[in-house]
């Protein structure tokens, strides 16, 4: 089973997680920029965070054989803090970076005017950068928030096939699919969505434009929920081809429109071996040749 986790906050995870993910079949991830649990108080701390998403975290992932990509945005929760809003001036330069595959997470948290403004502005940035968009849907008042999200997407003029609306459930999936957008599901240990309910939705709606992620972060979450969902699909009679579509081909198709995915194996990575920046044998050969 090959797995592309299209939404996971690896900055908050351990190297044990990276090893378990590789063993379970995860070969590529997308890490969306989001809230860190503790509010930021300045634009500079956002920039440091974005830098780590396109720098250190990518390096860390590759040490474990996993290709790491990022999405960049001012998240809706912090869009409400006037100290953070100027990060919108910094976002476009990050959208150019290697491995940045979408604008996100954007969308709504409390549905305030400040969130409206940040959301609309970043949808325009996505159009200019020719990137797809990852949209977060709110925890509270989700149905209404999802409806309003789809209205804003429609008004922006952006092609809905380049929009992934995430954290959906039984009550919000139909409207997102009807709007022509991609439907994302975050599989959690006990909230949002679980593997069993996910399989039921796949039976009802099919596998087209359906995307599954672990959304694992600093909260109670599990980076292997994608694999568990694949297993549950097989147990329920879906084929390997179906599982591959949901766990690999769909997210690759969505984020691939960025032209910025790298999916070939990490050079030099050997499963189970301690990662090394370069092999000593290479050096020895050179040294031997010189002496």
């Amino acid at each position: 089973m090959r797995i592309f986790d299209p939404h996971i906050h690896m900055t908050s995870r351990t190297t044990d997680d990276y090893e378990r993910m590789y063993a379970a079949g995860v070969r590529a991830v997308v890490e969306p920029a989001f809230w860190l649990g503790q509010p930021r108080t300045s634009v500079a701390s956002f920039c440091d965070y974005f830098d780590s998403l396109v720098g250190w975290e990518r390096f860390r992932a590759e040490q474990f054989g996993i290709r790491h990509h990022a999405t960049i945005a001012l998240n809706p929760k912090e869009a409400n803090d006037p100290r953070c809003r100027d990060v919108l001036d910094e976002v476009p330069r990050y959208l150019l970076k290697d491995g940045v595959v979408a604008v996100g997470e954007v969308g709504y948290d409390s549905m305030t005017p400040a969130e409206d403004e940040a959301f609309a502005a970043q949808l325009q940035m996505a159009r200019e950068a020719e990137l797809p968009v990852l949209v977060h849907t709110p925890h509270r008042d989700k149905l209404n928030g999802t409806r309003r999200t789809l209205d804003v997407v429609r008004e922006s003029g952006i092609d809905p096939s380049r929009v992934l609306v995430d954290h959906l459930n039984e009550t919000t999936v139909a409207m997102v699919r009807d709007a022509g957008a991609w439907a994302g599901f975050s599989i959690y240990p006990d909230t949002k969505m679980d593997p069993h309910r996910m399989v039921a939705l796949l039976h009802e709606y099919g596998t087209e434009r359906m995307i599954v992620n672990s959304a694992a972060d600093w909260g109670r979450s599990d980076p292997l929920r994608t694999a568990r969902t694949g297993e549950e699909m097989l147990a329920a009679g879906f084929t390997d081809h179906d599982v591959d579509r949901v766990l690999w081909r769909n997210p690759v198709a969505f984020y691939g429109t960025s032209g910025n995915l790298v999916l070939d194996p990490v050079p030099g990575f050997v499963p189970g071996e301690v990662p090394a920046p370069a092999e000593f044998e290479g050096s020895s050969v050179l040294r031997g040749a010189r002496v």
Partner: protein, 225 residues
């Protein structure tokens, strides 16, 4: 005939330096990526990567023009490369440093010029990084010529710590001194005391003319200061 992406990009940078930011970001996507030696040097730390070469070529075009005859190492160029580095991801930062290396290979950066001063500051930053490819880029041709001895020694030792072959260090034997030998010797003793292997490359510091000899088992008396 200027028809490849990198040829056009070099011409753009030489004509309008403001284009550099965008072209630097796009280089791996347009000019190709990946290590030159995927087997022996999978991260391109020692022998470089395709994207490093493309970005270095853009830096050379900025400083020396598209025909390689100019040499603009003044404040404006230095500020532009500093911004490119400060706002760059790991690959872009490495690209700036490899660009400085390429300039050394193409006639050199005058010592004391604004560009050389900025380059040294960027090499200091790279030395503090955790990513081996950045640390290694601090002691390429540019660092080998311009970096102060204290930082150079610490960078070399850090590469040994990180397991990076010392082939990454430009002019290693030329700059080795007693203090570097003392540091490497202490490091080897510390490793042996812990029952951990001593990286082969320590020998290249301890016995640069005879790297086959084993490292000593105890610290040698300090010969410096």
């Amino acid at each position: 005939m200027t028809d490849t992406w990198i040829d056009r990009a070099r011409a753009d940078v030489a004509r309008d330096p403001r284009t550099l930011t965008r072209l630097f970001a796009l280089a791996p996507r347009r000019a190709g990526r990946g290590p030159h030696d995927p087997q022996g040097d999978p991260h391109g730390v020692v022998r470089g990567t395709a994207e490093d070469d493309a970005r270095a070529a853009l830096v050379v075009a900025l400083v020396r023009g598209v025909d390689g005859t100019g040499s603009d190492t003044g404040d404006a160029t230095a500020a532009r490369l500093r911004e490119l580095y400060d706002r760059g991801d790991t690959g872009e930062r490495r690209g700036v440093l490899r660009g400085l290396d390429a300039l050394e290979a193409a006639g050199g950066v005058p010592g004391g010029s604004p560009l050389a001063r900025t380059g040294v500051e960027l090499a200091h930053d790279a030395h503090r990084a955790n990513d081996p490819s950045l640390v290694a880029a601090a002691v390429g041709r540019f660092g080998g010529r311009h970096l102060d001895q204290h930082t150079w020694r610490h960078t070399v030792l850090k590469l040994v710590f990180l397991g990076v072959p010392l082939d990454a260090v430009a002019g290693l034997t030329d700059r080795l001194d007693d203090e570097t030998v003392r540091m490497a010797s202490d490091f080897a003793a510390e490793r042996r005391a812990a029952g951990r292997p001593v990286p082969d490359d320590v020998d290249r510091i301890l016995h640069p003319l005879d790297p086959g000899r084993p490292a000593p088992t105890a610290p040698t008396p300090s010969t410096a200061e």
